[in-house]
Structure formats: structure tokens, C-alpha cells
Symmetry: C2
Subunit: 321 residues, 2 copies
């Protein structure tokens, strides 16, 4: 939940002068995104989302993110399209922060994803993975294997204050991941955060992918592993193999996984679960009690991690080995 920064009409009008979108009709802060401040802006020429990038987004990465959305939208992939300013650029400044406007995307993110939603999300992810083939931007994944142990060491034995025995369990998992992590799988630009709240639907049909602010270059199959974690566990942390099979099947109809990618799925799922467990654990320990940010519980991805720890092969996800 956001709107960290409010903006005055004067500031906004000044910013809008750099666009050719007509007069300002209204703007409302929306309670979405934990990283940035977002507004729905009505202008004479349409409806847009204005994002002010708060400090957790590195300004140097913005051309990669914005360029990616522009590239995908130009390919016909359903995502917000950055709006160009009169001088052809897309990133401006507002209230002392980098800011950009993108087109408003209709759709609703599924609070209770169904098997059909999972299939649609899988197909959309595969479409994105094909559409990035000729995107020239590059951004290293700052939250992948080499980053996890240093992140964990900033928490260390405090992990046990959150969940008894977690420090030792995490160290053992990191040992395992460092030994098994695949490196020679197909890679390219991935979304890296394709959780249900970033995927819009109109009814049962995929209508758009949003929030590319974790996008980076990494293994395509790792993106699939993130999505399997994000979509296929229920509220009681039980894995739903019908959902994962539907997601993987729909993904593969667009972009078939290689044998090596399929074999690597359990390890990649362990890694993805560990990544989210670690960042949530870090935030859990470092977020002040009086902060207005909702802290996400690390217990949820820990349960995912444990499921994948026991997964012996791709059959755990409804795939034949």
C-alpha cells in the first residue's frame, strides 16, 4: 500500500506541460505497489498511471524498466506502455523524484487464483520470454544466488528469533543451492516478480502484466519457478499440482522447456522460495514496528521452500521427468 509522496496540482501541471495530453481533469493516489507512489491521472486525452519512483528503485535502472515496457508493448504484449514526452523521452522529475506515465490497463488481479488463471499466467510469461528476444537492455539480477548468502548474513542468527531453527535451515539450503544451481539454461530478460497482484485479468482471460521493477536478465526457467511459488500454493501453504501442471502446460504451448530446464525445476523452485523468504525475513527484522508498510510474513515462502526441498523431480510440479 503506497502513496508515499503526495503531489500538488501546481507540481503536477508543471510536469504535465512536458506531455501533449491535454488538460488535467483529476488525479487520485492509489493504494498499490509497495515500492513507489502511484496515481490515476485523468487528462483530456485519456487515463494514465503516474508513478513516482521512491528510493528503493535505482534511478539508473529506470531506462531498462521503461524501455522493457515500451519494447513489450510495441510487440503487442499486454503491459502498460510508457507515454513519451514532447522531447521523446519518457522519464521526468516530479516532487524531487524520477517520474513516468504509462497507459492505464483495464483488468483485475486475482485475489483467489484459479487453475484457469494459472494457465493464463503461464502462457503470458512464455509470451514475454519470447518477446524479449531482441530487447537490448541488460540488468543483472541483484537478488539471485550470489546475493542470497550476503543478504542472509545481515540477518544471521536473528532468524531464530522469528522462527526457531531458521538460521541453520537457511544455511543448509544455501549450501544445497550453491551446489546444485544450474547455469547453462536459456536466459534473457525475466519479470522476476510475476505474483498474482502483478497480473491482470478480464474475467478469466489475461489482460496485462504490470510492475516490471524487478525485471532483469536471468534464466527463463527461474521466472517460471517464481510463478510456480507465487500461484500454486493455497492459503494453508499446500501445493496444488493441478495448478502447476496447468501453468507449465500453458507455458510450454508457447515456449517449450528443454529437458535440462525441466530437470532443473525443483532446484529453481527452491531458489525462488529462498529468495522471497530471505527478502521478507530481512524486511521483517529491519522494518520499524511503527512503519506504515505492511510487512510480508517470511513463514509463507518458508513453507514453499520446504515443499521444494522435498521435491525429487519435475513430477512434483505435474511434469513428466
Amino acid at each position: 500500500m503506497a502513496v508515499y509522496t503526495d503531489i500538488t496540482e501546481g507540481e503536477l501541471r508543471h510536469f504535465l506541460q512536458t506531455y501533449e495530453l491535454g488538460d488535467l481533469l483529476s488525479y487520485r493516489g492509489i493504494a498499490e505497489g509497495v515500492e513507489n507512489s502511484n496515481f490515476i491521472v485523468h487528462l483530456e486525452r485519456g487515463e494514465f498511471i503516474l508513478t513516482l519512483y521512491e528510493k528503493r528503485v535505482n534511478e539508473e535502472d529506470l531506462p531498462f524498466f521503461i524501455g522493457l515496457m515500451d519494447h513489450l508493448a510495441a510487440k503487442g504484449f499486454a503491459c502498460p506502455r510508457p507515454v513519451k514526452r514532447q522531447d521523446g523521452t519518457v522519464i521526468g522529475h516530479l516532487a524531487g523524484r524520477p517520474a513516468a506515465m504509462v497507459t492505464f490497463l483495464e483488468g483485475v488481479w486475482p485475489r483467489e487464483p484459479s487453475v484457469v488463471h494459472c494457465a493464463e499466467a503461464g502462457a503470458a510469461l512464455a509470451q514475454m520470454h519470447l518477446a524479449v528476444a531482441d530487447y537490448e537492455g541488460y540488468r543483472r539480477n541483484a537478488l539471485t544466488l550470489p546475493d542470497w548468502r550476503p543478504l542472509f548474513e545481515q540477518v544471521g542468527d536473528k532468524a531464530d528469533e522469528v522462527i526457531d531453527g531458521l538460521a541453520e535451515e537457511t544455511r543448509a539450503m544455501l549450501d544445497r543451492l550453491e551446489a546444485e544451481w544450474p547455469t547453462d539454461l536459456p536466459s534473457g530478460v525475466i519479470h522476476a516478480d510475476a505474483f498474482p497482484d502483478n497480473v491482470f485479468f478480464l474475467g478469466d482471460r489475461f489482460s496485462g502484466l504490470i510492475d516490471f521493477y524487478f525485471a532483469c536478465n536471468d534464466l527463463f526457467a527461474y521466472d517460471v519457478a517464481v510463478a510456480l511459488n507465487a500461484w500454486c500454493f493455497d492459503a494453508d501453504h499446500r501445493f496444488d499440482r493441478q495448478k502447476s501442471a496447468a501453468m507449465l502446460d500453458a507455458y510450454q504451448r508457447v515456449r517449450p522447456l528443454s529437458d535440462d530446464e525441466r530437470k532443473a525445476l525443483p532446484a529453481l523452485c527452491r531458489g525462488a522460495a529462498t529468495r522471497f523468504m530471505l527478502t521478507r525475513l530481512y524486511d521483517w527484522i529491519h522494518t520499524p514496528a511503527d512503519a506504515t508498510v505492511t510487512k510480508k510474513d517470511p513463514r509463507q515462502p518458508l513453507a514453499w521452500m520446504r515443499y521444494h526441498a522435498a521435491a525429487s523431480g519435475p513430477g512434483a510440479y505435474g511434469l513428466n521427468a
Copy 2:
């Protein structure tokens, strides 16, 4: 800043079945209103604001508030218009809370109100006061003179922990208000919370009044006093007589104040400032430190109160006596 309650698509679709507005296209929680949860909802037949009424709004009062908006909109006054359901009613239930939909109103509330804004707001308030003449609803003002002392006694000497000497200063002000409060002035339904964030503009022109959830029956001139407090002090708590003169002049072009109303203005302004000081003081002391609600500082209306304490007559507001 709100969205206390999130809603699932399933719940929302079920709720929307009671309307005839077409399919759901999108909904986004908006960061507006401290009392309720608000969403911008796009349906095939238009754009609406959906409000879920949280516990601070008494469900028994909703027919008064919703009926008032409906009455005013039917008179051509610019405010959100409640949308009728198929059965003709306007209040339903969603996520265990009373809920209603109103039309989306274009406009921007002024973060930095100008003299022109003050004039427009004054004229709009007077138009509302004329338009309520034949509204049949009645709601007692639950935050007027008889309510202030009991509210203050729940704070008592703790007031001194917030501002040294505040308890004594408040008791003296309550004594004074109880002695001077006018009773036989023109009355009717007032907005009672016409702060800038509830008044929308397109450019310099008034485009709509929102948030009628403090509306009640009381003196019209008390509504004016609330607005003088809300609009005419600058960030350094200095009163701007040019703004108050513009607001009162524009108000009187639509609804002239009687001599008695004009004479009572200083007392009414003292009372309005005291009312906001008291509720903010109460919230300041009773809101837990870790609450996500932004606490409003009682020092601001205290400064207003002190300005009006020294006001000797309507001249303090740019009016001739």
C-alpha cells in the same frame, strides 16, 4: 489515507450483480479518506467510486448521507450521485460492511488554496445551503457545543502532555463558548467538514463537493466558520483576511448572512476551531503509535482557536460589522 478493507473480485462481482452497470473492467483502492475504504471501479457503463463504510461511520446514518447527496445532485449541485441498484435502493453490503457506489467526479482538490479557490468554495457552500431547504432528512450534529466538554473530559489533564497549559486554556474556551454560543440563527443541513480536500476544482472553478459523512443539521453560519478555519490560515497559522473576505463575499452573493449571523462569526469560528482541536487532540492521545492512520496535529486548530479568541468582531474576517 485508506483502503482498510481489500475486496476480492468474487465479492465485488457478487455485489455488482445488484446494479445494471455492465461487466467489471478494473478496480483500484484509492488512498483517500481517513474514515472509509474507497475504490475507483471501471464498469462497462462508466467509472464509479465504491465506498465501504468502516466502523467510524454509523450504519444508521447512511440513509441520511446518501439521501443528501442524491437530493443535492438532483438539484444540480455538483457532488457525487449515489447509484441506484436494481431494486431502487442505494446501500448494499460488501466484505461485511455497508457499501455504496457513487458517480466519479472529475476535479482536483487544492493543496495550496488561492483567494479564487476560497471564493469558489464560499459560493459552493452557499449553494448547498440553499439546495438543502427541502431535504427531509435530519441528523443531529454529534460534534457541537454540548459534545465538546464531554469529549474534552476524556482527555482531561493529558492535554498538558501534548501542549503545556492546554487543559486550562481549553476549559476557559469551553466556558466562554457555553456563554456566548448563538442558538437562534438560520439552520439546516450543513456539510460540517468543508476542508480543501473535500472540494474539487477544474482549474480555478469549483467542480464538486465530496465526503458528506459529517453532514448534519446545524447553523448555516457554523458551516461557514468551519470553512474559514479550513481555508484561510496559511502553513504558518497566519490568518489571511483577503481569503476570508473573498470567501464571505462570494458566499453572500448566493446567500446573504443576516446581521446576527455576521455578529456571531467570531464565536462560531472559535467553536469550529475548538471542535477540530478537540477531535485531533483526542485522536492524538488515543491512536496507538503503530497505527497506519496519519495523526493530525492538534497544534494547527489550536492556533486557529487563538486567532479567533482575539477576534473582536466580524471585521477580523474582512466583513464590516
